[in-house]
Symmetry: D2
């Protein structure tokens, strides 16, 4: 059986996460590193016959212009997170990938993001033309590399939250607004998602930007047989929160306050230092606790830009809780991880799972991937164990199906 | 339908946990505090029709002699954990309970524990006579209070570990050794458990002492239709560990080292400051990580006696882990809780669940209670979520059975 | 030699700090507690012959109306910080002090504070009349108690920062504005300080409110022979900062970032939750680091209101620094202390030292008290050790003077 | 004026600290790094005209045999602490230094250290002959490089504590024991120190080994005009402790407990994992607190070997203290630093200061260097600020002397 030829298209291709995805994938291909950090390489996923990381073709787009290798050296030299011999060993390959990076758009992404763009936004171009340009880059890449499937994953900087209007909920209304070039209610992430779906590309929104997978586009994906999922990769403080909050629930220890403080110094932190962009992030982080507990303790999540930390996110969470005889106790944790290194392997996992979903003709939201997201679309389960149960059930289900098919075939 | 009349017999009745159990139960009975911290009062347990905390008759035994009220004031005034108006309000009731505290035994418990005893051990008495004395206190209490069931829970100080020999695995061999008065291989906790089972009392070992539920006694319990469970209540650092370790497993983040430091200043800490007693504790704590992860990272658990902390346990755990591109990251937590206040509500939960098991004619190990223990007997599941699934399944099972019975009856 | 009869007048007399000052002073008088936490009771201060805490007469004013004992029970029952038997033992004395609490003013203190006032502000009254009312309460209290000296200490909630204008720097200009009833540029704290100085009362501003000791009033104090000092008591995170920052300086470890997060839940926290009031606090906290280091690292101080903590302030500081070979390292600390209990003993210290200064006919700023303040007026020394050297030198100086006098007299 | 030609001889030349000293010095010489972390390069030290780091000749000895460059790559690749381009740039120079590393001795250092030795100890050789061999290496190096002064610094692994006997206190008695080849009461560090002093080399003991500067040798140094100093470099947890403990003292906050936990994974940690070697370390750490406070709180210092941390020491300290109204509060800190990078710059500082002392004909203990040591010989001042005052006074003293000399000369 011929395997699908698969590509992975990264929006925000020059950002830290993307650079880490590419460096890691190339290092894996060369056998230089272990698969540590990737979920789908562990034993339970074997029967799914996911695409090997080594077989992916990588491309993407960005609003900035720079060489991937420079970005990689800047990132890893600053944080000193990885053994630089690894980077050395994939230099050539990274350099080659520069050819696969197209020009991106920052349409209506707010000042903080637009300030990053190396080229002024294409203001002379209508939204529909912008969509055409994106579709064109996807088509070209698929053709050049002879791809059966191209998975598109959004890693661009967080946009300000988009206020949902009626037309965001209906694909026809949305398309007519798009045709009318209504620039205020449509963001770059919306255009990317729309273009991807029209090009039959599975689409994953790893950012908190709520403009990406508006209900109208989920509807479109469903009707066109395209699997999609989001929002906002769950990599650090929220991951821990979703693993720990159930413990308090199960033991009937009442959480009085849960305060979280995230310090980080990369581009992500820089953009999130702008209140409007940060608002998106805080929204996706905020609901986790209440959803798990069934009540809303005093809880605030703070993000602060501390340049010296670069990619090394440091988070302190303080949990105040009440126990027996109404006594107050506390729990604190400090999470020190490299933001991009925590996110990158999940991108590879999501790409593999999205390709499988496409192969299996699933359409609309991939709810079984909830554990990867802070605000999983269409899923009310927020506890990490509950979300992993969803994933395990999916794996079982696929396994049974394929063994049945095998039996039939046999 | 007449409800069972139920008693709870606490071994180590004057210790901090027991005093907290009693203070809390009396306060609950008066409606002075919430049920926070108790697992079995939450909504999913309602269909089980567990015995209300208010209906328990409390008794127990101790090797020390003192008034419960004094112990309570000492405990809560030192730690300032609770609102002293609560203690004030239950003064009378606590004083009444002094009448229900019998003399206990510290047979072969090691110097650290024997030093605590107010009366010299009854050396003139054979092991079999010791068993008779224990059985007699249980019988007397049952009779005096007119009890249908008396649940016995071991809260005594941790004994040094008992090296298992062949005869610990066979009830006949055990009984013949007991008859031969072989004092070295049998500890106080063994005598208590044996006596309880012979008196048809469900027995729970909340301590790490491995002498309590030796295989021979589990066998006896099974054959006599008595539900039993242990070992070592999971209340703090290990609880968090069993909630967090699965996160690292699921995300394929390799744990390199997990070092735990527990500071505490109560009697428990004092006894655990003795190497041989501490050994028991560390043994039950130690296996959790490896069982969950499937591999053994560098991991040590340390317990230190810091008198000024009294009952306020403070634990620091440092977790070093490897992520994508083999980068090292870390996670730390600090747990600050009142040891006795974390343990006490679980005692009430266990008593209620043990009574239910007796009522339902279950016998032998109550594996569904694994989540309450650091080293659950007969259960290989160590992740907190897996253990709560066991509990939830049991609740479902009981519910179905009783609704079926109701239908039949109806 | 007859000792001065001394009073202590607390502005914000019903607040947590004041209630703790009074409870503590009464408990000390009864010998119920140790002098732990008071600086001036330690051995080096003995030769100064400071007024014993037991000899103070206490009074004050507040914009709220309530019984001191109620405030004390609310405070200490919520936080469970102290042994309630102490409070019980001073109940009577606290109740007596209610008679010494006059009505205060919240003139131009911002909405957050005015919302706390039990009585609407006296809007019909001119600023000069307000000053007269304050002077009258001070005079009355002095007369009633037969006081030689009345020390006034401001413990009221933090006002929004006052933008300094020319007239704040000149006493004549200030008085003419006061006469013209210019309400916008003069705050309650200014009126209190002015009134105190006119009544020959040493005045200490323990709050961050910069309106209290404006240059014009320092000038007035100097010319009238009144000792004054401020601003903002140094009790927690900033105290630690001023003790630790010199270590980095001495060792030439370059601080890259120092981020501080303060969680607290008392009235102070509530008022500081209002951005304009918080601004004052952050201003006094902010300058410490730069003054000690001689350069300005990335540094932000955050204050968050977490009601469940009540008076138990919890602060996390993250310090990122560079060492040899330009390697980055980090230091974190967590400070968990009772805000009012840390502040209260310093109030007693300051009152004793202010009385001494008055007795010794010192006038203007008491620079030797710099170690007590986050933003010590007229002092550029911000390192804690440097500030303690100032204090030690003062003690030596006074000692020499008095022994010389003794010799002369002798 | 011709400057002295100066050498630095490192005992334990292949260890992490030494490798870092050499890498750093070479990088400084090339202008690749800042002087961050070195104390003596800051402004107040300028008038002392210390030897520039670039002018030192480096040599040393070790019981292991390996290339410096290999050690450096192993160290920095594992910890990823520094930018590897720096190491790349000094490769050649490091390789050249291999020629300057002589064979060392592990005489009577305990099993843990002897196990590290690449060559079996020279058992056939008498102690006196061992001394001759050491003197010979020092003489040879001085001659080859044409050195005026050779500073010797002990960086070897920590020996087990040496029980002091009478003869350790008297140089004649010591020399007769040495002549009698009394191997049990004399350790490698003693032989090194003795040889250095006889060769007129200033000697600094940066390790906790108490055998190095026994009173007899301090006496010898004094009589021969040789400056010496020790013991045990103060680089991490103890540094912080000595900066913070005075704060509690000054504020009269009573420390109840101060518990310290040090995790580290380098050779130092490995050797300290052996109880007898660790004992030395804990002894020097232990006295600091009591000396500063004037009383002894409950305090234990723990060192644990956690291999995955390599050189990245992680320490958690928990401080429990009592404040006003006898309320208990707490302070915790986490120190995460690279052990060798914290120590190395101090070695360069000490070498420069020792050369100055030799030039100024000082002899015996250099008490002004107390701030560099956990257990400064001949100094009872343990607070960091007090120790820096000592250093500042010395600098002032030297400055005055030299300006006077200059005036005289002029």
């Amino acid at each position: 059986m011929r395997r699908n030829k698969v590509g992975l298209w990264l929006i925000g291709a020059l950002g830290s996460v993307s650079v880490t995805v590419l460096t890691g994938a190339l290092a894996l291909r060369k056998g230089l590193i272990s698969e540590t950090g990737m979920v789908t390489t562990s034993e339970p996923f074997e029967p799914l016959e996911l695409i090997p990381v080594a077989d992916f073709e990588f491309g993407g787009c960005d609003i900035r212009q720079s060489a991937l290798l420079d970005s990689a050296y800047r990132l890893f030299q600053e944080t000193r997170a990885i053994d630089l011999r690894i980077l050395k060993a994939v230099e050539e390959d990274l350099r080659d990938l520069d050819n696969n990076i197209a020009r991106g758009t920052a349409r209506n992404c707010g000042d903080a993001i637009e300030a990053l763009a190396d080229c002024s936004a294409r203001q002379d171009v209508s939204l529909l033309q912008e969509v055409e340009l994106i579709r064109d880059s996807l088509r070209t890449f698929k053709m050049e590399k002879g791809l059966d499937v191209l998975v598109v994953i959004n890693l661009a900087s967080t946009e300000p939250p988009l206020a949902m209007q009626d037309f965001h909920h209906d694909i026809d209304a949305f398309e007519s607004r798009l045709g009318a070039n209504d620039c205020q209610a449509i963001r770059a992430s919306t255009l990317y998602a729309y273009a991807a779906i029209l090009e039959n590309c599975p689409y994953v929104n790893f950012t908190p930007s709520n403009g990406a997978l508006i209900p109208a586009l989920v509807q479109l994906a469903k009707s066109r047989g395209i699997p999609v999922m989001g929002n906002d990769g769950k990599t650090g403080e929220t991951l821990v929160k979703s693993a720990l909050a159930p413990m308090f629930l199960w033991r009937n220890l009442e959480i009085l306050s849960w305060e979280g403080f995230n310090l980080l110094g990369n581009m992500d932190g820089h953009v999130l230092d702008h209140p409007s962009n940060c608002e998106s992030k805080l929204k996706t982080k905020d609901q986790v606790l209440q959803q798990i507990l069934g009540y809303a303790p005093h809880s605030q999540v703070h993000i602060h830009y501390v340049p010296s930390l670069d990619d090394q996110k440091t988070a302190w969470d303080f949990v105040h809780f009440k126990g027996f005889l109404d006594a107050k106790m506390s729990f604190q944790f400090v999470w020190q991880g490299y933001d991009s290194l925590l996110a990158a392997p999940l991108i590879l996992d999501l790409a593999r799972m999205a390709e499988l979903a496409k192969r299996r003709c699933e359409s609309g939201l991939m709810a079984h991937l909830a554990s990867f997201f802070k605000a999983p679309l269409g899923v009310s389960e927020h506890s990490l164990n509950g979300q992993f149960d969803l994933l395990a059930e999916y794996v079982q289900h696929v396994k049974k199906k394929s063994s049945r098919k095998l039996r039939t075939v046999g």
